[in-house]
């Protein structure tokens, strides 16, 4: 099942979020799968150690949450609750406080949404909520854009990880603004950076990792695949490959062709160019 386990983990290449070391550079969402069992199998196949979850209204006598919590706990992964759907800093802060009590974790994936069509982060509300939550002892994973000013404010507020979008949530369009993402990587060399949202294919995830991003967070691309379990493995391999490529140092691209086969000793080389026909 877990093909990625065949790749020996690089023990020298550790990633930590708020002092918590993880060996997998994939964070996986738990929504939109065909069934809870497929979700559980996909999480196992991915080898990921962090999954995102949410809070939603529970109905009277309802046990939906209890069953879901039991399944998540059986996966033996770190839980990263989100504030998905929150439109103000206030809503996000209250949701984070409820999540901390329910999941027993100070980790929070902070989302403050500005617009229903784009689901883009409201950077003003995001910074406001991050400041309040950091003061309250939370370990904030802010879902943000590539905006460097907002990112600086988030870091100043105490965030020790940043999660810029690749493209709007659920679009699967990949890295819409690679230049801005590269700039952000260079601007914050010491801050763990996670591309969150918009990833549609393993190649998108590999591209983010090749840029030097520390990890990738995705959900729909795995959950909505025809075979989510196999796709989870595909993403895990792509993320691993992208990381190894980044560590290996990619070649510089160039505009003109350059032969890879040695020119010296080419037969007929000294006979001049063949006659034009």
């Amino acid at each position: 099942m877990n093909l990625i386990a065949k790749v020996p983990p690089d023990t020298q290449d550790e990633l930590s979020f708020y002092e918590q070391a993880v060996s997998s550079r994939m964070l996986l969402g738990t929504a939109l799968y065909p069934s809870p069992q497929v979700m559980a199998d996909a999480v196992k196949a991915s080898g990921c150690q962090i999954v995102t979850v949410s809070l939603r209204r529970e109905s009277a006598r309802g046990k939906v949450g209890a069953r879901f919590l039991e399944l998540i706990n059986s996966l033996d992964v770190h839980v990263l609750p989100n504030t998905a759907g929150c439109r103000t800093a206030k809503e996000a802060v209250t949701t984070a406080q409820m999540a901390r009590e329910l999941f027993g974790s100070e980790w929070i994936k902070l989302e403050v949404i500005a617009n229903d069509d784009t689901l883009q982060p409201d950077l003003f509300g995001l910074v406001e909520a991050a400041e309040l939550l950091n003061k309250d002892g939370f370990k904030v994973f802010p879902y943000t854009t590539e905006d460097l000013g907002a990112a600086e404010r988030l870091v100043a507020a105490g965030c020790r990880v940043l999660m810029p979008w690749g493209a709007p949530i659920g679009t699967g369009r990949g890295l819409a603004n690679p230049y801005a993402l590269k700039t952000m990587r260079n601007y914050f060399p010491g801050v763990p950076l996670v591309v969150d949202a918009g990833i549609g294919a393993p190649s998108h995830a590999a591209e983010a990792m090749e840029m030097g991003y520390d990890a990738v967070l995705l959900n729909t691309a795995v959950a909505r695949a025809a075979d989510p379990v196999k796709m989870a493995t595909a993403f895990a391999m792509a993320i691993e490959a992208g990381r190894m490529a980044y560590q290996s140092g990619l070649m510089e691209s160039r505009d003109m062709a350059a032969p890879s086969t040695p020119v010296a000793g080419t037969p007929f080389f000294d006979l001049g160019a063949p006659p034009k026909r």
Binding site: L32, V53, G65, T94
Partner: protein, 78 residues
């Protein structure tokens, strides 16, 4: 949840809103409300009028007519 069913009982009632639905209840504390709605053994988190209410404060928080109560639990998320 029926609009009045599970949270109605004998005695003077107040009108509150639970998870977006109107609710007529005799409960005067958040804890009493959770018991009347049979949440007692289920892990939930709560808020009143947009403010988080820790589990430890549910017995002491008084409910008033017009309060908006949120009762949430774990769900799938991205």
């Amino acid at each position: 949840m029926s609009r009045t069913g599970t949270c109605s009982s004998a005695g003077e009632k107040i009108q509150i809103n639970v998870n977006g639905e109107e609710c007529s209840t005799q409960a005067r504390t958040l804890e009493a409300l959770l018991i009347s709605l049979e949440f007692t053994k289920i892990r939930v988190a709560t808020a009143i009028n947009g403010e988080f209410v820790p589990a430890s404060q549910r017995a002491s928080i008084q409910l008033s007519t017009g309060d908006n109560i949120e009762i949430v639990s774990a769900r799938q998320g991205g």
